[in-house]
Assembly symmetry: C3
């Protein structure tokens, strides 16, 4: 465990999860209370009454208009976290307030900034425009992971595991056998890992959704912006097809796989996953197939990573892993995460 | 957690719980074995064989007349804790004995003294005579609480929470809005908190049991003798009625609510509760109503305090609460408890 | 807890448990992977891929001929622990290997050596030849114990507990009341405890299996070779019968009760038990009776020792037991175990 990166933006929820009801989620060990105010904005504040630490999301705590009333003693807060009523007296202590978290709703996600709000620069939030673009159809979900977020980062940065852990779903022999290229943009804080398979088996995930048969070109271009946003640009095309010089790529099918990797506690993680495609737009059968299939794949990872967390819990201190070429991207990501944690 | 107060009397059980069977309960982290001897006295000794620590309450351990036989190797103890038989030899080691706990059975409770028996002064045990008085009818119960006892002390010393946590049961708006008066008798070791509502809604708990309708005078006079005994003298009367100068109070209904707050472990508590009334004596419908209603109220507290214990388990060290006027009694109780723990 | 004895042989499994499938068991805190190769030998190596610590016994890890393929990224190991394939490259890192554990299959058990393999001397493994002898019929089992192995050693070295914990099964009053003799062979590393009851009740365990009725001679001769192998030579005969000077003993029934006591973690144990008899050979009714009855007895121990482990977990540090004559063998065993742990 390298700790939590501080002064960072994390995906807390899909926007669709938060309505005019109290909603709670723990991010980096901090329980956070959310609701959508009547003007449509999402609030975020500590889910803990300043008085006797009762969770404001816990019934009988309740939302009255745009104020939350603590279910224990009635301390009442407005949408900015300011305390507006306490029991037994009219004077409200000056320090009775909940410090709100900076929030940005963007690309279907609710992002919160964990750290010093003075450092919250919304321009630094990485984008995933496909998730709300009319040119794409997206399926998405979130699975709770009983493992530290670093294990999910390792997992996603090295897709050679598809061949073994996801064989029969998205894995074929070529994923493990094709070498990768890795690039690290230290200034932008991005790790790139590419694997271009020019003549590969088409796994069921893509054959059933695209209708392609036989061998394909399959390109995987990973773009990870630590700590939270992971994008896999996936290109599926007939063997021999390449994009045009102007960037258009009419013979190919494009899938933008997006993960948001949000630490819940030191040993658990919110595993948000989205699959956006530029074909079969609005086709509900294809959407249902991809949603079910991708969830199966995510759950294969969840089972494996939960096992790894248990292995870590019982292994002797100082246990050393062995890394090889496929790990280059993951190791670069670890170095970046380490710096984000140390800076804090 | 301030630790356990030492050299103190605690309620271990209702007398009715202990018969001529082995009975075990952990008090302040110490597992204690009880049984009622054939002459009617209650024994109390460590629930742990001196030989290989087998619990004497654990089958096949058993009571034979007034001796307990360990179910592992047969070490046998009499009602004073003296070992009277060991296997394989006739000589019994001098140190083979269980040090009994001082016990007093009083006011329906079995009190045990945890600490140095030389300091056990039965005259210091606070009284609750209504629980065994023919002038009162009592309903009672005990709920296991997965929270430290201090949270229950906080809860009971500040009844403004009735309005929120127990709304619809014993809470009405006046409880939270009426200021309290607090008095601390350092010599006697008692905290008093009073709230006299002279024109208040009558909650269902009292309207259904007394038959009073409309607005009432509702007085709450708390008397807490740390660490264990909490009494709420509750007076319900028509608006405007006051007790006579001679103390008689014929127009009022009196309810003596008694709690015994007994630490089980550092994070769990035995929550004994009793409701004694001076009206509808022997009326089984009223008894059933008050028993069910009060148990519901206790369980609302149990749920809330169990949540608080979990909050404490995951919050950062040094988290600071914010206290206001309603907390005056609770803070005084905390100071007294702290002294009782330090003295130990 | 005195820790784990190091540089020692432990029973990991019955040979019958291990076939041409991946099998895992944790010994002294180390998860170990086993399988039987096609030539019949049992392998033993760490159950943890050198790459990212995935358990090699965890699906989709799988055995392909005599090689195990990691289910996460496909690292492949042969039966000697050597890595023979990794994904994405042909060069295999020199350090990619799993250090095998020395294994000996003997007397129905699979023994593994935990410690420095250079110190593994198979001649030091204690024997239990009855378990595979045609002159004996054996029933056996293994129960997981949620208690440290020392508690099982204590239990087995002092059989006076049979009278209390196993009354009605193998316990009669004479076991607790008959004194023992204890001998310690420091050079051979063996503790002997004997109890010869020359005129005793016959417990159901023996009356139903031997057909003996009334009083019997019952000899219990314990031979414990720390840390793992415990043998109880049990002799049941008509009162007055003694073995012949030449060692033959035609009037007696002999039961060799063998336990292998293998630490799993610091607070859990694999409790292997075997009952070998030299009478009613091949009689399935007698086998079924002894298997069921002995398993019941073992489970009585399991329940009791699991309770003791919980008692230890909550008791104050420095709690002192009281020992008497019956504990002489157990105390000798503890001293030997302590030395085995310190030597490590």
């Amino acid at each position: 465990m390298t700790g939590f990166p501080r002064d960072q933006w994390f995906v807390a929820a899909y926007g669709s999860e938060i309505g005019h009801d109290l909603f709670t989620r723990t991010i980096c060990g901090e329980p956070i209370l959310f609701w959508r105010t009547r003007d449509g904005a999402v609030t975020a504040m500590p889910d803990r009454c300043v008085h006797r630490r009762f969770p404001l999301s816990q019934p009988p705590s309740r939302l009255v208009d745009d104020q939350v009333v603590c279910g224990y003693h009635g301390f009442t807060y407005d949408a900015s976290g300011k305390c507006v009523a306490v029991p037994g007296q009219t004077r409200i202590p000056r320090t009775a307030r909940l410090l709100p978290y900076p929030v940005v709703e963007q690309d279907s996600f609710v992002w919160v900034f964990v750290g010093d709000p003075a450092n919250a620069d919304a321009a630094r939030i990485p984008r995933a425009p496909w998730l709300v673009s009319p040119d794409y159809t997206t399926v998405a979900g979130m699975e709770p992971l009983q493992a530290r977020y670093e294990l999910l980062v390792d997992n996603l940065l090295d897709l050679s595991h598809e061949t073994y852990l996801h064989g029969g779903y998205i894995g074929t022999p070529e994923v493990a056998s094709t070498p990768i290229t890795t690039e690290v943009d230290e200034d932008a804080g991005i790790v790139y890992v590419s694997r271009h398979m020019d003549d590969a088996e088409c796994p069921p995930f893509y054959s059933k959704s695209t209708g392609l048969e036989g061998r394909i070109a399959r390109w995987q271009d990973i773009e990870y912006t630590p700590p939270c946003l992971y994008k896999l640009h996936s290109r599926i095309a007939p063997v021999g097809s390449v994009p045009n010089p102007d960037g258009t790529d009419p013979d190919a099918f494009h899938v933008e796989v997006v993960y948001a990797i949000t630490p819940e506690t030191e040993t658990s993680t919110h595993d948000f996953w989205c699959v956006a495609r530029d074909f079969a737009l609005g086709d509900e059968d294809v959407s249902a197939f991809l949603a079910e299939n991708n969830r199966t794949v995510v759950m294969q990872d969840v089972v494996a990573l939960n096992v790894l967390e248990k292995v870590i819990a019982t292994e002797p201190e100082g246990y050393q892993e062995l890394s090889i070429n496929i790990d280059t991207g993951g190791l670069a990501a670890r170095r970046m995460l380490k710096r984000l944690c140390e800076k804090a």
